[in-house]
Symmetry: C2
Subunit: 714 residues, 2 copies
Amino acid sequence: MGDRAAVEKVLAEAAAEGRSSLTAPEGRAVCEAYGIPTPAERLATTAEEAVTHAEAIGLPVVLKIVSPDILHKTEAGGVLVGLRDAEAVRAGFAKIVENAKAYHADARIVGVQVQQMLTEGQEVIIGSVTDRTFGKVVAFGLGGVLVEVLKDVTFRLAPTSTGEALSMIDGIQAAEILRGVRGADPVDRDALAAVITGLGELVADFPQLSEVDLNPVLATPHGATAVDVRILVDPDAAKEPVRFTQEEILASMNRIMKPASIAVIGASAEAGKIGNSVMKNLVNGGYAGEIHPINPKAAEILDRKAYASITDVPGDVDVAVFAIPAKFVPAALEEVGRKGVAGAILIPSGFGETGNIELQDEVVAIARKHGVRILGPNIYGYYYTPENLSATFCTPYDVKGGVALSSQSGGIGMAILGFSRSARMGVSSIVGVGNKADIDEDDLLTFFEQDDNTQLVAMHLEDLKDGRSFAETAKRVSQHKPVVVLKAGRTSQGAKAASSHTGALAGDDKVYDDILRQSGVIRAPGLNDMLEYARGIPLLPTPKGENVVIITGAGGSGVLLSDACVDNGLSLMEIPPDLDTAFRAFIPPFGAAGNPVDITGGEPPSTYRNTIALGLEDDRVHALILGYWHTIVTPPMVFAELVAEVVEEYRAKGIHKPVVASLSGDVEVEEASDYLYDRGVVAYPYTTEKPVAVLGAKYRWARAANLLPNLSQR
Amino acid sequence: MGDRAAVEKVLAEAAAEGRSSLTAPEGRAVCEAYGIPTPAERLATTAEEAVTHAEAIGLPVVLKIVSPDILHKTEAGGVLVGLRDAEAVRAGFAKIVENAKAYHADARIVGVQVQQMLTEGQEVIIGSVTDRTFGKVVAFGLGGVLVEVLKDVTFRLAPTSTGEALSMIDGIQAAEILRGVRGADPVDRDALAAVITGLGELVADFPQLSEVDLNPVLATPHGATAVDVRILVDPDAAKEPVRFTQEEILASMNRIMKPASIAVIGASAEAGKIGNSVMKNLVNGGYAGEIHPINPKAAEILDRKAYASITDVPGDVDVAVFAIPAKFVPAALEEVGRKGVAGAILIPSGFGETGNIELQDEVVAIARKHGVRILGPNIYGYYYTPENLSATFCTPYDVKGGVALSSQSGGIGMAILGFSRSARMGVSSIVGVGNKADIDEDDLLTFFEQDDNTQLVAMHLEDLKDGRSFAETAKRVSQHKPVVVLKAGRTSQGAKAASSHTGALAGDDKVYDDILRQSGVIRAPGLNDMLEYARGIPLLPTPKGENVVIITGAGGSGVLLSDACVDNGLSLMEIPPDLDTAFRAFIPPFGAAGNPVDITGGEPPSTYRNTIALGLEDDRVHALILGYWHTIVTPPMVFAELVAEVVEEYRAKGIHKPVVASLSGDVEVEEASDYLYDRGVVAYPYTTEKPVAVLGAKYRWARAANLLPNLSQR
């Protein structure tokens, strides 16, 4: 726990002087207050005092100018290193003051800092910035110019636990350096982790510390010391977004996703109008609740009584779907609010996305006033299949299942719909979030977490309104249900204009990537991957360990499947001798046991069957990847049927292991793949990559959710 | 040009003493002979001589033991650095000799090297190893432990041109360091390139130099000096594989691919036998040449007269397809050889792949004796559609087109066949190379290069018998026709036991990757990518420049398509103001010009049409990526038809630009994508990645073939 009072005192002084940066001694005091070691140092106001201090601290020393008006000391000639004796210190003092005055004639010079000169250790950088999406984050990387060029740095939300801090130290590409190479001793990882956790606590306690650079921190086998400290203060950096509680979110979201009564504002009888499509989809989709068209000019629409205003509707209304132009939304939303509606589904565009931010802000203010939550604006609507609810102008969707999807873009929403229909993917919900004026991924996750109809959540997003809240929610949800994220816009706008080194290293996407991973989210590299992960992951049982075995009829597929395992972070099991013997009993003498188990081409169905059964039976094996080779002896559908049968047989015995398959052959392998997929074996034709990628995604989730033993550090 | 005589003298001395490594002064002499600067140094045999030399060279100096029996000087305490005066040099001489004797009592001590101590410059490593696939390769990387950990090193075939050497310096991840960062001066790239080219020439002239480490080379703004030189000699490293000339290859390959007469050894009338399948496929596939079944027990097979031996067949035979067990192959091949057949297609397995290497060697020897080339053994056969030739036991293939494919594995061959059939891909040839006992990818490339029926070659391979020959052939062929390679087995067996630093850095796949890229080959990351590249690249016209424009109806697709452009090395054009104005004239005021051009959803077909036409018309735009969003206003097939029409319209005007499309929408986008693909627009549903990946592959090829201006260094 930090010494808050000491930091408050420093910040009060800086504030009193209207300063937005701390001096080096102030920075050091702040660090020490949170247990971050800094070099021994003393402030000297005269050359003689500098000599006395230097002799007390121990030579050699570094001298540094201390002035609230000089931020870049090196540029100002305000730093001298390696002063080895009293005479050098005395002369150095004079020189440094002279340089400072030449650099900035009016600079207030507090004195010269005499600092212990650390000459050994590995340079690292530890810092903190205020990210516009995630708020306070801490950064860790090796120091020096090479690392800056390679941008080998990693980020976490602040504060961090000791485990997270250690995962940062292990998480950079050059981590091996810190473990000691070419016979060097490893650095003190615990000491480094303590600096990271200390800094995280510091900025969490004092969010007005907008940027902190500890650069370099010198790490040795026996400790870690922050040699240089730079701290910027900005009261704006302490601002936090408004958040709803989990209870508040669920109260609204349950009414929105499972409404008893829906009003359609701007319902229309005229085909081609959005207000007509929405009505038709609600009715034809089979929604069983009340549907109330709102239209002052109609008496009835699609056989339902129409009302001039939602306030005329008898009884409660849970959801109001808006199918009217943007400019009419505020007035209608006032009525919706007075009616006590839980959710306003704002289909219309013409808000923030066209630059009309005032209108969007006005609408949000009205919603807040009445406690209405807004979905959108600028969306296609949403689906919730357990209620047969298609509140959208697109076509209804009716293949029920456990996958919930959301998209920030309408175009991507349509791709989700088309893919799902084409692949017959079982879906619980598809939600367009559009401009996210109010409801965002965080609200959706909170609903899907407790929704028994949803087993997996897949989200396309371009930004997060409140990344910290999302990360925390995703971390909680992903313990129970896989969360797949397609983060679009990886081409960052480049590093923002940042005054700190840490800031300069914080490209948008790197921060997203590290924090999403830390939240247990499975990040999909592209749209198709997101869709395939969403489709496949729920079908695969959760593996009980890391031992993956490839069984293949084609040696060539085995090699490519092995490549794919490496690409997807899967571990090919080292087959124990007894299991190897058991496999060999089933395969020809020139086949290869080991892993891949190459049963060779031209084998009859029984060879596939026996080896697969062995892999399912042996409890040291945790997942199977099958490589099929089309032959006359074992045609594609024969393979598919035998695999489905043996997998089902073991399921009936209570043995559930993920099985994926790559089918190489003539066009009949397409039908065989579909047959297998329908029976819970994730199978694809003409690709060795896709089945392994889906299995890899399942493993990434299982590891993050701590469902696998022993490998939490991966 | 190097001083060969000087090197020969050194090597003769080493050989005379039976040494497999050169001493430091020998290494220095060898380097200097090829224009590689080394520090000034002299050999001292007494302490006083060392002092004299040190004063002549200039202090400080380094002292190093010179002994043919001490390879690892540092370990032996045989190196002292930073000796600043005569006294230190004198004492150092004594110390170093004492250390050496303590380390190895019987070591022959030639003397102590007194070397100029270079204290400034960027450390780099330049080296050469003898790769088992590619022979002599040179390596370049930054020096120091960090780079060793990050394995940031690049390889080229030796010798290299100056341009290739410069591409190595620019090709490492940390290249920016050498260009000068944080105000540092850039290093002398020409001097570094000269060291690389000098080393390349040296090892090309003296292939018995099995490993050379110049580590470190110190690069400054004014030169580059090899501070430490380590050279290993191994006569085996000079061995080169036997190669056929291009004329010899073509003489055989033309007869094999376009035979006038084919014999089937082991032809059979019995369904289910391989010799029956091959006969049926030849006959039913529509092959118009002579087909001669060889079977001593039959008079006729499939209405063709059968012969007891191929020697009984009247007239010449070009190809003999073997459908007999492995053990009968040698005798039959003798007869085939005596008949003067050009190619023996060895379908049977049971050779090298099952460990029967003697049988395989025997068969190759027979073939060589008679001038027969062997395809296989252990293959499915081959297809050449222009001749309606399906010499395989698989099913015939008849969709003719310009794509030639080969696979090392039968399983992958079947995936090629199935994918091709399913996608209706126009194919000229599919060839199984199997064990590659003789004919390999090099022979195939040489044939396809001059085959007017082939526009693109795609090859699955697990290894290369003669990587240097393949690289040289691929470099030549890819100037005219794209060569796509799926290299399986990227999981290297780990760095081989190597005694040099360069060797330790040379993981198999890194060497493959660098050299394939340098050969102009498009490397496919996976099986499906290889197939999609093969299918799409020939349809796209070659772009005339780097300016890619995205036109999208869905902002969300635009973001993902932009991400995909970055991933695939494509340059989004900076739209000039006049073109921006022209685009804006067609799109709604809240749409976004710039790039992506976001025409917004809900626009009529004319908006797509006008903006696409503008992109085709303006000759500053070189390629278009379209993002379609399914709406009622512009349904999928309306979009597909208008795009096909406008593209065709501009083709008729002589304007050929690559156009690819990503279609987001309900299932109708599948039909629309197929419609576009059939008309030369590479289009996919539900993915933003695939169309851009194919365009990116086309660009990679075009750049490597120098068909694009100004960007040869990419």
